[in-house]
Amino acid sequence: MLAYTLTRLVYLALVLAVMSVLIFLVTQAMPGDVASMIAGQFASKEVVDAIAVKLGLDQPLVVQYGQWAAGILRGDLGRSLVLEQPIAPILMEALARSLVLAVVALAVVAVVGIGLGVLAAVQRGKLTDQLVSGISYLGIAVPDFFWAIVLVLIFGSYMKLLPTGGYAPIADGFLPWASHLVLPVITLVLMLLARIARLTRSSMIDVLQTNYVKFARAKGMPESVVILRHALKNALLPTITVLAIDFGLILGGVVVIETIFSYPGMGRLLLFAIQRHDLPLIQATILVVSAAYCLANLTADLLYAYVNPKIRHGMKAA
């Protein structure tokens, strides 16, 4: 397990290094010149050049990248050109808010999705199963922003039960904080729930037909033990992988959701940075989002290895 983790960490570092290069190159290729943006429309060429020198933009790309990467390794993400502040604190705050959204949404998806999937599998072919399947199809067929709009209309505009957007720090009290989370979380959940429920259902159905489930029944174990202890533990293996991928999707989907609900997280920060052509901020944001995505995948793989003794022991032996 240790060797496996080490290997994966090495790969992770390699992937991030490659990504940092790509991010750097792509953002460099974006239209518009940073120095003239900062200097303003009417600045003279001298002023623009001076700014460029100050920012190190006259250096060759390799050197620029080197300085940027070295800064990141020291924990310095640079300064935002537009906000004229160090990026790290801004980014961390936004990241924390987005993570809250993502983690809560993921937790709800996991619990409700797995629950519905198991229920549908056990009741296979009966009414509950058909209901879950029907809802799943609906969830998959309808685009997620549609739910967002419907939710905003119903709960926010029409019933006026929940705030339709914005954010309240937890310092303002738990309820206001939580109430701002409800609609974005529900939207994210609706986006992913159907897939998890269906996946759990199908792997659960497979597992319920295995010999070890039959043998557990032959041992006279009550059905609840057969399902929860014998079947679910094995049926969850594929679900865990997909949940981890979903975590990445949530991080991506957050951009859309945050915009709709004007929730001040990473998504909005990225949008802001792109609109304002704030290169360092764009680079830092994308890099952090990518790193979060990779870490989510790594966690999923380690978790998968952990719950699957076959893999876990394979590693030990290696």
Binding site: A3, K219, G220, K233, P309, K310, H313
Partner: protein
Amino acid sequence: MMTAPQARPAVAPVTVTAPAPEPAPLLDVRGLTISYGNARGTLRAASDVGFAIRPGEVMGLVGESGSGKSTIAMAILDLLGGGGRVDSGEILFDGVDLRRLPAAERRALRGDRIAAVFQDPFTSLNPALTVGRQIAEPLIQHKSLSPRQAAARVLDLLAEVGIRDPRRVTAAYPHELSGGMQQRALIATALGCEPKLLILDEPTTALDVTVEARIIDLLAKLCDSHGLSALFVSHNLGIVNRICQTVTVLYGGLVVETGPTGRVLSRPAHPYSKGLVAALPRITAGRRHRLPSIPGTVAKLSGPPAACVFAPRCPFAEETCRSQPQAMLTDAAGDGVRCWKADALAGTPWPDEESAARKPAPQAPAQPTAPLVEVDHLRKVYGANRSILPWLRRAGTVAVEDVSFTVGRGEVVGVVGESGSGKSTIGRALLALTEPSAGTVLFDGTDLTRQVKQGDQDLRRRAQLVFQNSAASLNPRKTVGDAMDRPLVLAGRADAEERRKTVAGLLTRVGLPSAYADRYPHELSGGERQRVNIARALATDPDFVVCDEAVSALDVSVQANILNLLAELRDEMGLSYLFITHDIAVVSHIADRVLVVYGGTICEEGPTGRVLRPPYHPYTEALLSAVPRLAEDGQEAPRILLEDAAPTPGGQGCAFAARCPRKLGAICDEQAPPVHRADDGHRIACHIPLATLAERAAVFPELVGDAAH
């Protein structure tokens, strides 16, 4: 009424003494009818099945696949899945009709009073839970033990089923145990609550013969010491002979014969039982003796039968058989048979197919011609990894270590070994499906690997493979004709009409109607699919066919059929086979020469008669003694029971050293055994001197006489 057993004139005059007071049966199944229903109709899996198992008795329930034997076992456990339901009948356990009990009470009986062990130990254990926990579960559930008490009991149970380090096994996950250990763990689970009845559904079918022998021994011992009754579901008559006191033969969901095992297997009364016994390959029989087989496929009923179910396949069938359903006839001793001609046929054996029609088998071609396949110092290592990351580097596992042999033209070479022996790897290397790590394979004088790399399609054409799993090797969405067409197209046969003719010809050649070209694989039986696979292999007109466990998944009757077909094709087309199998009896039937492999090395090699009759090498000897036999094949040889240990390929000493009952000592662990050679090509790799081995070989008296064969 066909349910009422009718009086049957006794075969021999039975001296009617006062009947001994019969103990009430522990399990009494009466008139059990089970059907599976789906949208396309219903299928009767069991019709009016009745049998009884007395306390302490082990009853065998035998029949081909599709005969309904497992269904009945599952019905007793109330675990019929997939749309199966019991239509009528009684299942009396200790006098109580289980069918009348509520589901919760039946569940409470399961694992407590009635315990089960299923076929495949590996899939019967939950991969995500430790073995100890799985054994403890029923103890906690039914006997209300605390987890701690249960854990202590688990250790005792494991010790009782012959596991030497119970502590390690309790903490292990299933995949860390060998198949034999897994099956022992399952048996320990079943024994935990001290049940009265065991339901054993093919408990050893998935195991190697040497392991199987030990498990059967263990089961017999346990049934004896605990006074257990058992329902032993099996397709293997040899094993039934070893462990069961009585046997019930099923055909098409009907009981066709019941009686004491010894009598049923030595003097079967029902034609179907006769066929089953006759089709069994025997080690004692000489090579090229044509196996009797049962033509056709198992009957599938949708309602009560209107004629004798076996009539379409019965060589003794008459008009009466086809117009009247047969009732169970019981003789004075209580033996039953469902055939009105049974008494008339007493003593008539299953017909020996066309002993006249068959031309005498040609002698194996004289050796001088250059062999077709030459394997020289073949070595194969899997999973070696030369990563730049030091913790990923791996030496790999040795599958085959320094193997050399030849296959002559028109010769059948059998490779016998258990799982992990490297036998399949050898076959794959001979077809260039895997690249040797060292050594060479010459096919007709040219280096196989190099030729194939250079894109030599001709070699691919000349060497073909027939697999074990006949279902998986055919694409379910393609008709038989399309599947067979493909190799022809690849071989560059352009004319579609001509190809169609070839396909029809090939189908006829393997004994299938040419109309089968339009069928889909699922419309065929297992035996028919295997015939299609053989036909497909023949499509390119090969010289050499590797049969990898080609008959292992088939019922004996069908297996006999396919073996005969392969032998015929060899005689007619001069094919060479490499016949890979775990079944030493099968090999003795078809092979001219045998290689006995263990742990990736050849233990013994030579002409079949010389190697098997009698065996010399300690491993060959153990393998042979492990094969269950019927009583009529002579007295049982002393059984040699091997330890459950994995082979240790790639080591310095003898690969068999860890399990060898005749191990000499450190020399076996440290030095590769020397090879004793005889001039007829018999080679034995063992540290024991040849003279001593020969002495010991005399222990198999019934086999010795055949040595000159």
